[in-house]
């Protein structure tokens, strides 16, 4: 008796989607924190730090996410580090995220008019306060749409976790397709779930971007 793709099977996919969301949020949080460091390094006054961060970004933007994940998951254990699939994915996706967000936020920091930080410096405000109170709040506004579109990319990127065997949405789909022999319906449903997770974010990002342009 072959199972049919019905409501119960759809709920199984939704349970997989939960891990997609958890993994995305985890990578976005950790990667965001690292990304801020990358962005600050990339805009720092020390050349060595700028070059270092530019190389870091180049490496992650110039290689496929899949290879980065394979490297962490299959490569690191060779060096004697035991990595669980969740740990490997969190490390891999966070590093990936930090490089992309670092580049996006570098752009936003540099888009804040120079006069702002010059004025802060003239008032004798130190680096930390200048960044936290003057530059970053303005950069945040400028970088928000691109950050949200990156989040959409990240959510889509977590589908690669299926290839490492983590049962998130895509992997649940694979399992379901193997059980029901209805790949068309199953992958269609998987795609729709991703679509309804990502669409509101895409819409949000486009809206904010339009509003930003309207202000200027």
């Amino acid at each position: 008796m072959i199972r049919q793709f019905g409501w119960g099977e759809f709920v199984f996919l939704l349970e997989g989607a939960r891990w997609t969301i958890v993994l995305s949020l985890l990578a976005f949080t950790v990667g965001g924190a690292l990304g801020l460091a990358v962005a600050l390094g990339r805009t720092s006054k020390w050349k060595i730090l700028r070059v270092l961060m530019a190389t870091y970004i180049q490496i992650f933007q110039g290689t496929p996410l899949l290879v980065q994940l394979f490297f962490v998951y299959f490569g690191l254990p060779m060096l004697g580090m035991k990595v669980d699939v969740w740990v490997a994915l969190t490390i891999g996706l966070s590093l990936h995220t930090s490089a992309f967000l670092g580049e996006i936020w570098r752009g936003s920091i540099q888009a804040v008019p120079d006069g702002q930080s010059e004025a802060a410096r003239a008032l004798g405000i130190g680096y930390v306060h200048r960044m936290v109170d003057v530059v970053l709040p303005q950069a945040f506004r400028i970088g928000l749409p691109a950050t949200i579109s990156f989040l959409v990319n990240l959510i889509k990127g977590t589908a690669l976790a299926a290839l490492l065997g983590l049962t998130e949405l895509t992997r649940s789909g694979q399992l379901m397709a193997n059980i029901t022999f209805q790949p068309l319906q199953v992958y269609g449903a998987v795609a729709l779930i991703y679509f309804f997770i990502c669409l509101p974010l895409t819409y949000c990002s486009a809206r904010i971007e339009r509003r930003l342009h309207a202000v200027r």
Partner: protein, 222 residues
């Protein structure tokens, strides 16, 4: 840490890796060409006066852009046989990547076309040019010029994304690397080398494409 690095099995397998590089380039460039052509069709639909065409184009573009390419690849490779279309790994990969690229290319090219001022088109019409000629000489060339860098990054992105069609056994670089990994168990060396190869490829193509762009799209227009 008592691991001895040994790159020799990886280096010895260079003919296989080269075959992989060729596979990767073949699949990504074919998908780019087909995707760009299909993308232009969707872009024209997106800008058409007919509401139905517009809605179809927007629906398609948003559907593709908001779902993972891996799921699109699975949908094509595993789903198509269910409606009687049997595809090899490579055909499925190229089809999925083409469909994916079309949506992104449509949006990129639309940006370029909409950057053309209406006055230019009106001037063309005033000179008595045909609509086709107006599109060819006044709209497309400058539009492509404007979005050429974005199209180049789209190509690089396609090349990097093509790594995941290894999951449907399309024979490209990552596929061969995985095979090599299961034969030699030198995962660290293999994936490090793999990363370096992709990095070199993406750097090379981004430099080469921007050079081509500088020559081909140089001002004054040829």
């Amino acid at each position: 840490m008592n691991y001895t690095f040994d790159f020799s099995p990886v280096l010895a397998a260079w003919p296989t890796l080269l075959e992989g590089v060729i596979g990767t380039l073949r699949m990504s460039s074919l998908s780019m060409v087909f995707g760009l052509s299909l993308g232009i069709v969707f872009m024209l639909m997106r800008l058409s006066n007919q509401k139905v065409l517009r809605i179809i184009a927007i629906g398609y573009i948003e559907l593709i852009r908001n779902t993972p390419i891996l799921v699109q690849v699975f949908f094509v490779f595993f789903g198509m046989p269910a409606i009687g279309i049997r595809l090899s790994g490579e055909q499925a990969a190229i089809l999925a990547m083409t469909l994916n690229c079309a949506a992104y290319a449509a949006e990129i090219v639309r940006g370029g076309v909409q950057s053309i001022r209406p006055g230019q088109i009106e001037a063309g019409r005033a000179l008595g040019m045909h609509t086709a000629d107006i599109y060819r000489f006044i709209v497309f060339r400058p539009a492509i010029r404007a979005v050429y860098p974005a199209l180049c990054s789209q190509f690089i992105l396609m090349m990097l994304n093509s790594s995941l069609v290894s999951s449907v056994s399309a024979e490209e670089l990552t596929y061969f690397a995985q095979t090599l990994d299961s034969q030699t168990f030198r995962s660290f060396e293999i994936y490090l080398t793999l990363g370096v190869i992709y990095l070199v490829l993406s750097q090379f193509f981004s430099a080469a494409l921007s050079m081509i762009g500088r020559v081909y799209f140089s001002y004054p227009a040829k």
